[in-house]
Structures are given as structure tokens and as C-alpha cells.
Symmetry: C2
Subunit: 149 residues, 2 copies
DNA sequence: AGAAACCCTGTAGTTACTACAGAGTCAAGG
DNA sequence: CCTTGACTCTGTAGTAACTACAGGGTTTCT
């Protein structure tokens, strides 16, 4: 099948498929006489594998490694569980920070009254006030990454 | 104060500060005779405001808008609560998908036994099996019927 | 035949930073 | 005074994972 068909079968953009090929994740397929890529089921499976891993937020570099393991069943796979552990830790950390973020945003949202003049906007006041508080060096450094990451 | 001092005061990288200036978020400051940037407390407050918004995952383009409201207190601020609502919706959606992801990864992690050969790795088997027949929660596009070529 | 959809390669853009490179300035120490 | 390391400057490029052209060729359908 051609690239468009592969894309439809796997629910992936053709440009993403080309991107994966260029990145080395997908092997370059055979070509028809007109130069079009000609894919078979092997590519489809591999692409599905990649997309499934991506859905698990596994970085492409790690997906590459997993694919190598698939290709070499006799290789030592001691790192795979560690990879999943790393992902799990990341997800849990992110969940934690997002929950805090949701709480902050909800609180901020609650400050919006019926007023529609910027000078009287509770949200804006709160954002400015927060900036004032943080701008005071007595309160230490505000590190957004710890919340937003 | 110089850029390094501003960065320390706000807990921001000097390169990020220059980035913000270039992006138009921070006004270009006065310069000393040697060409160094000379900042005052106004910049510090504005930077803190920006960082606080970033901590709330507010995109820079929206931070820019908020800053404009701060500068024009008489402007209609009808969009600000909507901005926060949009952020809240994003955060909640992301929370939902991350929870599903955590569940999947935990399940996947549970498949790892004591084996350390790739060919016998439960995690790898599951990833490959998923590519064959299962749509994951976040992916959703892959359907077995489209396997037919 | 013509138009639209598909394909190709190569380049550039998105978002929010982050990291140089090469050169100038400053402050402390020998 | 000189040296050295830290700081500053502007400009460019890179990061991750795509996504969107541009310009040109091929296929399919009306």
C-alpha cells in the first residue's frame, strides 16, 4: 500500500510517517516504479507499535530502543522495566503538578465577578498581586518549572 | 540592576529574559555606558508576572494579552475569565488522559517478571500485542478492521 | 482533457525555551 | 600592570515531536 493508505490504516499523518522514516524509526520501504513508497503489513505493525508507545508518552529515542529489543529477542532487556518505571514516575509527577495547577486556576477563576473592566478584574488583580509577592526577594525564587513541568 | 541580577531576583535564566525581550513580553530596558542592560523594579515585577502566568501553563501569547490588560485598566476584560476557563479545561482534560496513562503504564509494569531476555519480556510482548490488536485510550485511531490491505 | 487528490524531496515553522560562538567588559588577585 | 574568570552582548542554532508548506511529478476520476 501507498503512504496514504498506511496513514489511514494506522491513523497517522503521512508527514509523520515520513518523519519517522527520516528519524530512523521506520525502515525505508520498497518503491514502486513511479517512486512511490510501497508498504506491507510489517510496516503497519511497526508503525502501530510506535504510535502505541507514543501514546504512553515514551520518547522516540526510547521507542527506538524498544524496537531494537523487538528485533533482538536474545538481548538482555533489563532496561525495559526501568523505562516503564521512568515513565510512570514522570506521569505521577505531572499528575501531581497538574492537580496543584487545577486548584490554583479554580481559585483564580472564582475571583471573577460580573465586572468587565480590566482595572476591576479580580483575576488580573490576583495575577498582579502574585507578581508583587514574588518580586520580593524575601520570599525566595519562584520556580515555574516545578509546577508546570 | 544588570540582567544577571534580575535573573537571580526572579529565578529566571538570563537567556530566558533575553528571549522574553525579543518576544516582546519584556520592554527593552535602558542601557549602561558599556551597553549592559539596566533593569529596575518595574521589570522585575513584570517578569514575575510573566513567570507566574507561565506557572499556570498560560501560553506566552495569552500572557501578552493579559499584560495589555494590566496596562489598560479601562479596557473590557471579558476574555480573561474565558482564558482561565480554557486553561482549566485543558488542565482537566490532561489530568484525565494522564490518569488513564498511569493506569496503562502500571498495568504494563506489572507484566515484568524476573526474566531479562527481550524475547521473554512481558512488557515488550504487551507492547507488540497492543500494536497488533488494541487501540489505546489516547490513540483511538487504530482499528483491527483496517488491517486488511 | 482537465481537475483534484496523491505522491515526492527539501525546507521551514510551531512552542518555549536552551545552548553555543565569538567578542567586549568588569572585577579581583598576583 | 597583567591575567583570569565571570559577566555581558548579539546572533545563530538546537531541542522534541511533529506540522506545514513549496514546487514539481503521478494517478484517479469526471
Amino acid at each position: 500500500m501507498r503512504i496514504g493508505e498506511l496513514g489511514q490504516a494506522a491513523g497517522v499523518d503521512v508527514e509523520t510517517i515520513r518523519f519517522y522514516e527520516k528519524s530512523g524509526l521506520l525502515p525505508a520501504p520498497a518503491r514502486s516504479e513511479n517512486g512511490y513508497r510501497a508498504y506491507g503489513s510489517t510496516h503497519l505493525e511497526r508503525l502501530a507499535f510506535i504510535r502505541h508507545c507514543r501514546a504512553l508518552d515514551i520518547p522516540l529515542s526510547e521507542v527506538q530502543r524498544l524496537l531494537e529489543f523487538v528485533e533482538h529477542p536474545n538481548a538482555d532487556c533489563g532496561d525495559i522495566d526501568q523505562l516503564i518505571d521512568t515513565q510512570l514516575a514522570k506521569v505521577r509527577a505531572r499528575l501531581k503538578s497538574l492537580k496543584a495547577l487545577e486548584k490554583q486556576l479554580s481559585s483564580l477563576r472564582g475571583r471573577c465577578g460580573a465586572k468587565h473592566i480590566a482595572g476591576e478584574c479580580g483575576i488580573l488583580h490576583e495575577l498582579v498581586a502574585a507578581a508583587h509577592k514574588e518580586a520580593c526577594v524575601c520570599h525566595g525564587h519562584f520556580e515555574p518549572k516545578t509546577l508546570a513541568t
